[in-house]
Structure formats: C-alpha cells, structure tokens
Symmetry: C2
Subunit: 121 residues, 2 copies
C-alpha cells in the first residue's frame, strides 16, 4: 500500500530509472558515471590506444580509466582489442551498441557545451 | 607543442568536454553526477515536494539529495520555492533552462531503459 509513492511516478515511464534493483538504473549509473560519458564520447567514430584515451579524457587517473573501460566493456559498449605486435598494445573502440548509445549521448553533451559558459559564468 | 594530443581531438568539437578547466566539463559533471540525472528526470513536467522527490529517486540519502538540488539550483536548472503556508513546505520544479536540458536527457534515459535488460541480463 503506497498511494503517495504511486502518485509521484512518471506517466511516460522512466520509472525503471528510479528503482535501484532494475537493470535500467545499473546501466544508467555506468553511463553517467564521472568518466563514463567522457570515455564514450572520446571513442566516438575512432579507435584509440590506452595512452591516447588517457590524454584525451583529461584528468582521469589510470585506475579510474581502467575501471571505467572495464565497466563499459562489460556492458558491451566498448571493444578492447589486444594487438599481436611488438611492442604489444591495446586498442579501444565502440561496439555497434556503443555507437547507438553515443548517438543518444551526443545531443546532450553538445547542448551542455553550448550552454555551459552562460550557466557557470 | 603537443602534436600527439592534438591528433586525438575530435573533429566535431566536444573538445570542451574534456578540459577540466572549461565550463562544459563542470556542467557535464553536475548533470551526469550519480543523482543529477535522476533528479532532473523526476522533475520532468511536474513540481515535487522534498519528500516526494526523496521517494521518487529511490536510494538517495537526504544529504546527497540536498547537495544535488543545490548544485542544480545553482546552475539554473531547478527552481526552489518556499511556500508561505502552515506548515511551511518547499517545492521543486524545472526552470525553462532545466526543461530544455531534460528534453535532451530523456532520449538517452529512454534508450538506456529500453536496452538495459539485454545489457545487464
């Protein structure tokens, strides 16, 4: 019995976004983690090596970059490829699912960048 | 002189998203904070009191909800109105800027909810 709770649920259903036990909330947490958005946008349309990613996503620590990449790889958004060359190196790119996600992320990021100076300034 | 850094910058300019000293990065951090997305979406198209927000954004602590609301209010996304009634209460809603932001946030949230079961499952 929770009429007051029911009363505040949204009609157009991002309801699943609010329940901590739902997959939607889990993936939302991954994508909107402090570094998730930046790593995803950094990989938009290109393949980067570890060091290139680290330089692009300014301010990320090695530990946080590794953790973010592991999470995004686990969700199927990022592809990690270990190149069989000398010296060995690893490349990261978006999967088709990651491409689709980033297509939905970019309008938001662009809106924020377009408005940020007014907001923070 | 940083040709390797320049080489990895994006052609279509979310460049500002990556520089920790730029307003874009600051606002992006606010919006994509652990609770920012959920609070913004919770207020989509409606006004909620503190307790309603707390129940809607399941799992948020009083401290984190207060901090998130202060940040979003400071950015001009959320309007806080203290009602002059007895007993006194406070209502939260989106500003026109917040409405515009949430319009760009919802497609992403809906995409994530639509795909989450496959991703986490």
């Amino acid at each position: 019995m929770a009429p007051s709770t029911t009363a505040v649920l949204l009609p157009d259903a991002p309801e699943g976004a609010f329940d901590p036990s739902c997959p939607g909330r889990v993936v939302l947490d991954h994508v909107t983690s402090k570094w998730g958005v930046l790593v995803l946008v950094a990989l938009d349309g290109r393949t980067l090596r570890w060091g290139e990613l680290r330089r692009t996503v300014e301010g990320v620590s090695e530990k946080m970059l590794a953790q973010t990449l592991r999470t995004l790889e686990g969700d199927g958004f990022v592809l990690r490829e270990s190149m069989d060359v000398i010296p060995p190196h690893v490349e990261y790119s978006l999967t088709p699912l990651g491409d689709d996600l980033v297509a939905h992320l970019k309008p938001l990021v662009h809106w924020i960048l377009d408005h940020a100076a007014d907001i923070v300034g």
